[in-house]
């Protein structure tokens, strides 16, 4: 299966980006072939709705799961609608996070941080 993780640099030795929507890159990893690729995140410079745009790019790249420290409500809606699982990373190292995923040590992300959705109504 193919998984993705937000990356601060185009380098497997770099750190996990703290923001999903505005990460500069996504690193994709195929657990079967162990191939690593990078996607430029065009949503990083978006005026608004970055999470949605980034999530759309992830959906379009046929990824089955993402590993991220945080995820906003809008992005989570897109990913969940596409059936993509969202796992919570613990470490800031990409390599560590990938290893943790393979060894089934990562849990699903529970706290989705809010977007603008009118809960105040």
């Amino acid at each position: 299966m193919k998984i993705a993780i937000p990356a601060d640099d185009k380098n497997i030795d770099s750190t996990v980006c703290q923001s999903f929507g505005r990460t500069p890159y996504f690193l994709t990893y195929d657990t079967g072939t162990e191939t690593v690729e990078f996607i430029d995140n065009s949503a990083a410079s978006s005026q608004g709705g970055a999470g949605i745009k980034a999530a759309q790019a992830i959906v379009d790249s046929k990824v089955s799961a993402i590993l991220t420290p945080r995820c906003g409500q809008n992005a989570a809606e897109v990913l969940t609608a596409a059936g993509i699982l969202i796992y919570k990373t613990e470490s800031s190292s990409i390599k560590e996070s990938l290893a943790a995923f393979k060894e089934k040590r990562l849990g699903l992300l529970q706290e989705i941080h809010a977007g603008f959705h009118g809960h105040g109504g």
């Binding site: 703290q18 005026q47 608004g48 420290p69 990373t89 941080h113 809010a114 105040g120």
Partner: protein
């Protein structure tokens, strides 16, 4: 890093006065002013060096080339923001009203319209040794304040590295700049004012902050200006299960200090003593469950 955000709902309750005192008391190595419309924190926190500046680009703005425009009026007909006008020569865009949606560019039959990047504000970063102060000034009449607020916080996080506490001075209201500042905050301290307006606004900001699931606490500033209302706020907090962080009396010495660019924690005065108590209670709440490894 734990992020403490100071909000109020109503303007003028004392966010910046409290935030600057907290910064002094905690010796926080990172702080930010997210009231990008009317930033004031820099007037109290002293910085000798000039900051590094960056243009902030909001939504692009449309421009109509008068030489190509055939005055068909399709742009004006389709603009939902009343941002297109006519003069003797051609149709033109009112940059203040333009939201950068691109509809006019799409409907123009002769390609007279194009979208251009537009500077909507000024980002500033002060970095002195281990201390990082991030702030910004929105150009008047601009929108996309939320995006600028996000950039102020991002700038602060990136420049400060691994530190324990960051303090963020928020903006009044409950709209997009406030929502943007709530994202990523671990705790919100609401500075309330004991007036009818203050109580009404406090309730609305609490409702807004609750959407984010952050720890919320309330303190009352200028509490002695209306003790009855101050007690109403205390009772409200008890009823709602919101921790009450204390009260700060109105203090002429505070006004004097702030006018001299000092925080109330810098001088010996009643409000200074009271804010120390509020600070201690706030820190206990913020660090109560121990540190998270992320954020």
């Amino acid at each position: 890093m734990k992020q403490l955000l100071i909000l109020s709902g109503k303007g003028g309750t004392g966010k910046t006065t409290v935030a600057s005192a907290f910064i002094r008391l905690s010796e926080a190595k990172a702080y930010a002013d997210c009231d990008v419309d009317a930033p004031n924190l820099h007037l109290i926190t002293k910085h000798s060096k000039t900051p590094s500046r960056k243009d902030y680009y909001g939504m692009p703005k449309a421009e109509i080339d008068p030489d190509i425009c055939i005055n068909c009026g399709k742009c004006m007909e389709n603009c939902r923001f009343d941002a297109i006008r006519v003069n003797e020569r051609s149709h033109f865009v009112d940059a203040f009203g333009c939201e950068g949606c691109g509809v006019c560019e799409f409907v123009c039959p002769v390609n007279a319209v194009s979208l251009h990047p537009s500077v909507a504000g000024d980002l500033m970063l002060f970095k002195e040794g281990p201390v990082t102060f991030s702030t910004a000034q929105l150009k008047m009449g601009s929108g996309t304040t939320g995006m600028l607020v996000s950039q102020v916080k991002k700038q602060m996080k990136e420049a400060s590295g691994d530190i324990e506490l960051a303090i963020v001075d928020g903006s009044p209201g409950i709209g997009c700049p406030v929502i943007a500042s709530l994202s990523g905050a671990d705790m919100v301290l609401i500075v309330a004012e004991p007036s009818l307006s203050g109580i009404s606004d406090m309730e609305r900001i609490i409702k807004t902050a609750r959407i984010f699931g952050v720890i919320i606490a309330v303190c009352v500033n200028k509490s002695d200006t209306n003790p009855d209302n101050a007690n109403r706020i205390k009772d409200f907090c008890k009823l709602e299960g919101i921790p009450y962080a204390g009260s700060i009396p109105f203090d002429y010495m505070a006004v004097k200090a702030v006018n001299k660019g000092m925080s109330i924690a810098d001088i010996d005065c009643p409000s200074g003593a009271a804010v120390k108590e509020v600070f201690n209670k706030t820190m206990l709440l913020l660090f109560a469950e121990g540190r998270h490894s992320q954020k």
